[in-house]
Subunit: 429 residues, 4 copies
């Protein structure tokens, strides 16, 4: 049956900040231009198929609480009502695992055909696709990092197929989240071999992308723990280190998930900035965790301050290129009404839209930027020691001579002015 899945819920409209209608946007106005681009283009929102249409509220302590509103048809009605043009998927979420790889591939082909049909005549495309390499017991010790070489081969075949269908559906990105690429115990683990194998796998994926002429961005998604004690793509810095070690830093970008950031001990803006200054910020999985909770809660990000700091990094990055904001967030297990799906997404979209407005206004006001520039002025001061250091013209001997012949900079370092910076930010929250 392909009737209406969300009866009684209209298209969600922008009604402005004073609206008291929870089924309206108060900040997200798709076509409104902010800092030279429409909000739609800055934000490129995407619905995550798995949380939205496969999430059933199960957790290790309880069974499913959600009804099966799962079909691809529901997905397209949902996107239409929400005004979102992008979606993300795992291969095994949209089509079930078969009894053999061949059958799994056939299952996938059939669903992809439906999706292609539904995409026709719309602007809807996948933001990214991925292969789910963590649920099946075959992958319990890892996929690319399995101690069993046949599992590596099997995973390669599955990724190849997932890349094929993502390309076919018009997706521009492909994501690798290393679900079980990590270890539970170092006692039984050969970490050196496993990391080498992970690099081999990534190199093959990158070569395959070129071989089939697909102009897509490949993305690694860091996460520190869960399900394993140590996931190899722990955080952005660890992932960049991995890419550099194996000469892959030009082939991959990074998909930052905010809840993964905080689990690794970093703020989300730290991870975004680390990716940005390394030239690898490619996509954002927009969610948030509970600051007092030590596992991945995948909540919708709703805090205006956090959203503003995130959008500050995105604006500084000039947007996300082929990437966007995927709602890798799920309803609470206790949120069992159909309309809750809309509340969740509206809260998330509005928070980031508000963040975009705030960040743009903060940058336009200029006071914070000025505070930073003045703080680092000595590094650009003509004729000063700063530019000489940057130019590589001085060694330790020269610097010692300079230090001995100039006053101690102690009285000259100036206040860090963090409290003032907080006020300047707050003026735009």
């Amino acid at each position: 049956w392909y009737g209406e899945f969300f009866p009684g819920i209209p298209k969600i409209k922008y009604e402005g900040p004073k609206s008291t209608n929870p089924l309206a946007f108060r900040y997200y106005n798709a076509e409104e231009v902010i800092s030279g681009k429409t909000m739609k283009d800055w934000l490129r929102f995407s619905v995550a198929f798995w949380h939205t249409f496969r999430g059933d509220g199960g957790d290790p302590f309880g069974s499913a609480t959600k009804r099966a509103f799962r079909a691809m048809h529901a997905n397209f009605e949902f996107m239409d009502k929400l005004g979102v043009d992008l979606w993300c998927f795992h291969d095994r979420d949209i089509a079930p695992e078969g009894d053999s790889l061949e059958e799994s591939n056939r299952n996938l082909d059939q669903v992809v055909e439906v999706a292609l049909e539904l995409q026709k005549g719309t602007r809807i495309r996948p933001l990214w696709g991925t292969a789910q390499l963590f649920k099946h017991p075959r992958y319990m010790h890892g996929a690319a990092t399995s101690p069993n070489a046949t599992v590596f081969a099997y995973a390669a075949a599955q990724v190849k197929k997932a890349m094929d269908v993502t390309q076919l559906l018009g997706g521009q990105n492909y994501v690798f989240w290393g679900g079980r690429e990590g270890y539970q115990s170092l006692l039984n683990t050969d970490m050196a071999l496993e990391l080498d194998n992970l690099a081999r796998f990534m190199r093959l994926a990158s070569e395959y992308k070129k071989q089939v002429g697909w102009d897509a961005t490949l993305l690694l998604e860091p996460k520190p723990q869960e399900p394993t004690k140590h996931q190899y793509d722990w955080d952005v810095a660890t992932t960049v280190s991995f890419l550099r070690k194996y000469g892959l830093e030009k082939e991959f970008k990074i998909n930052v998930e905010c809840n993964h950031a905080t689990l690794s001990g970093h703020s989300c803006e730290h991870e975004l900035e680390t990716a940005r200054i390394n030239g690898v910020l490619g996509n954002i999985d927009a969610n948030t965790g509970d600051p007092q909770t030590g596992w991945d809660t995948d909540q919708f990000l709703v805090d205006p301050r956090e959203a503003t700091l995130i959008m500050l990094a995105v604006i500084r990055n000039g947007g996300l290129g082929t990437g966007g904001f995927n709602f890798d967030a799920k309803l609470r297990r206790e949120s069992t009404a159909l309309v809750d799906l809309f509340y969740g997404h509206i809260s998330g979209m509005d928070a980031l839209a508000r963040g975009l407005r705030n960040a743009a206004a903060l940058l336009d006001a200029g006071a914070l930027t000025k505070l930073r520039e003045e703080r680092y002025a000595s590094w650009g001061a003509k004729g000063g020691i700063g530019p000489k250091i940057i130019a590589g013209k001085v060694g330790f001997d020269d610097l010692e001579k300079f230090a001995l012949s100039h006053p101690d900079p102690a009285d000259d370092v100036g206040s860090g002015s963090q409290e003032l910076a907080e006020i300047l930010l707050d003026m735009h929250l």
Copy 2:
């Protein structure tokens, strides 16, 4: 007055595991050979001057509780009684900051002369030296990463001098712990510039070392937080990423501190293994934290299980080269008796000695090694797919063909046997 600083305390001797004398070693027997080397050579213990002779028990909530048993003379008596030949120092711990850089340098020269004199005729040498770049307000925003270029120059001059005196004293290593190289808030921070400057500083240090013909190992010491919210050398992976980005990975090794490891969300053995498989494990600052405490407690490491896992990594690394084990650990603020200094060091030395014995016995027994080898057998199986993947002879197409024509590996992945591995370890604790 240079009399006896620790009267009534004899030279600490090895009395074996049954001894009930707390002023004896029960496991550390310096000249006993374990796995082909003396315990002394495996462990290369070092006394940390700052904690041992400068630590006064002050904390943010209370003033000093310790008496001033501080002199260099006390240091040498202590090392003699403990049977330790190596020591570590910060420049400003062994000699006070003067009113100018020149005066500080002079103060340092005078103390170094005393130390040289005391070293004469002994085997005592520094394990490593370092410059203290974090206490003085001049460095409050960082040293190499200060927004003020003159501070960079000043820090360079101080490091140059600290390198000079470490070389003069016969030290074979030099450590950089980035005390305030990090940020408190991203709002007022230019992280890209600060990291570039940190790399510039490290490059200059490495060039200086070569220029003066000092054949020493330079070491970076990771720490995630404290005093700053984010320290740039967060953990081993982050530090390796930094080194690789700037082409410095051949010039530096890493000094792993166990309490820093756990603060960054990793076990100490994880950090050691990560350093080892990246070829940069150079030294260990032997201490431990409280597993329920979110800051650096710098306790003496006493847990036999943790010590065994640490020594396992060290044996796999073939020892620590020019490095060793520095006791970067301090007495609790409430431990105010002179003899407590001995108790602390004895407990730490004995724990690692016991760990060495355990780890060697575990490797000799062979069962754990065998468990691991069998687990990864498919990667070395002649004619199998594993060696072909390693040799780079197959692409995604080949792997797909292989997967489609071979049985699903699901039934073949085998148990991870973690519980058995724990028993095999426990047999040697």
Copy 3:
């Protein structure tokens, strides 16, 4: 010299939300009435003498960065310019420790005289006073929980004096923060005796208050760790448990500090609500921590969402009675300009004022309250099982009969609507 300590800084005025002047209030308008009380009366702001006039920026890794703008005179000028009428103090912050208890008492008397003089003709009074029982080595093992009984006596004498001068200055509250009342290791600790002694101490303090006819509120301030591994007043629930065990629950209220709340694994609103529903919410030490940092950072609370949740609890409590909001927050070590003191306090006052406006508007709008009431409707449903349970009229037998004869409530439990609740909150941020 008692001239102007903050020259060039005017009285801080309310200029409204559009102001771009960082030395103005954008939300705090002292005499404006919100939900039936002036903002001033709801918030009862207080300056913390120790952070503001004694904080020097020292930390375990570095020496003082602040100048000595410390005198009581500076305090009064600061309060006047900020428009704050309340202040808090530790005895040893306002007057130095002498060579004997007698001399310490004399020192304190002299400073209190100055404060009394300065208070004359103003509305300025202490919000609360306290005795500092954690800095001096005498208290290193605890004060009321010291293994040494003479230390207990000494602490009692010091608290008696601190209570006397707080009463003399017109203070209406007295706070106990158990600086070192806790343990570093259970190995050397008799926890049962120490807790009994803590209760003995609190009983004596309460008796003394009555004996001298002082109508003040006594407050315990929970903190989980730091400086000790385990502080006995871990969190609100632990502290309430302590009070109930020893029959003290009528004699003491609780001073909730937000950064202490998050260090104990709770949100600040959780601790406030726990205190509220136990009838012991007495005062708030308004600060915040860094969500990724495992120690007490004592930052000014600036997040609008957190401030709103805090004020929601305060409004539900009908205000704080004799208590108020003490700014137990300090500038960052790197904030070394005089004006930073103002920025910090303005940011903190404005955040809570904004929170008050938001919380009042949220409650006035009514939608969130209605959502909650409907969720619990069955407990008030006339004739239903809910009221019978509450009235204690049914036992397990009756409830079993009821359950067997009524439909399974599974289909009737309803959505938790957390995402909708977040939107309703967000409408007022």
Copy 4:
């Protein structure tokens, strides 16, 4: 089919510390007497039916990896081979939920009959039973704390039945773990009503126990989080506070689970000691967590040092009365061999047996006890101020007089000797 479930695995025997057989006990020798009781009587080990025979290795990221070796018959064979006489169960683990409460009760009765039959002629009895009130969607908002009063009634009926069958099977304890008794968000929660209802439920359970004449111990099991953001029985102190508030402290004891302890920020020995000195230590769920992991991993406890500290508390408590050690621990998801179940339990039993031997030897040696007694000597010193304080004979006035007329105790407080205490402990590890 009720044949042999664990073919090839013999009865596990004690072979002593030198054994290299992983299917033997090296420390647990059931009938050996330690400090006046057999090891069996000190330890009272119990198999947890749910983890052992229902755990399938599923986690939120992957499906089951375990085969269905589930039946009650397997349970009894397992206990026999392991030499364990006690088992624990949730009602819904041993018998499936039916379509109605009546049917669920019938299912349970049938399985209980089988268990009764199997128990016949053996010493095997349940250590404790419990009702599973967290998996079914009916309980998603809580059971006793559900916003829906009918759910409360339903839960009461289920607990009544679970108590009945535990009594029938000869169990001496009944446990309440508040699976979803807590909240996800304070925004939609009436915490005061929910806690009152939780107390009502516990009072009814206690009354029912007396009504049916069952001489059993009722136990609450603290856990801080998971599945909810805040579980009402957060830790031991919180649970004791709850019991005291509602006058239930005589009716309930506490079941301490070590992994729950560390998740709440405490060491396991802290929770045990807190329960002990409050007179409510009733049972231990023996497991451990990963110190770097922020969720419940339920691993077998294998660390000798931790096991020793746990047994120290148990010996001080004079054993656990009707309680014992339940192995609330599960194999890692990757441990899929039948024999792994034995490895896990052997490792856990042996660790605690070793801990018992160590703790008894430590107490017998006496040095640590003496260190503690000397530390607190002043509280028992005849004629000293300590006994007067304890006797309640002195007030603040008297103590002030004492302090003013006696020397400052600063020089008299003595070292805390923590490092020495660690050595004394280590001598018995």
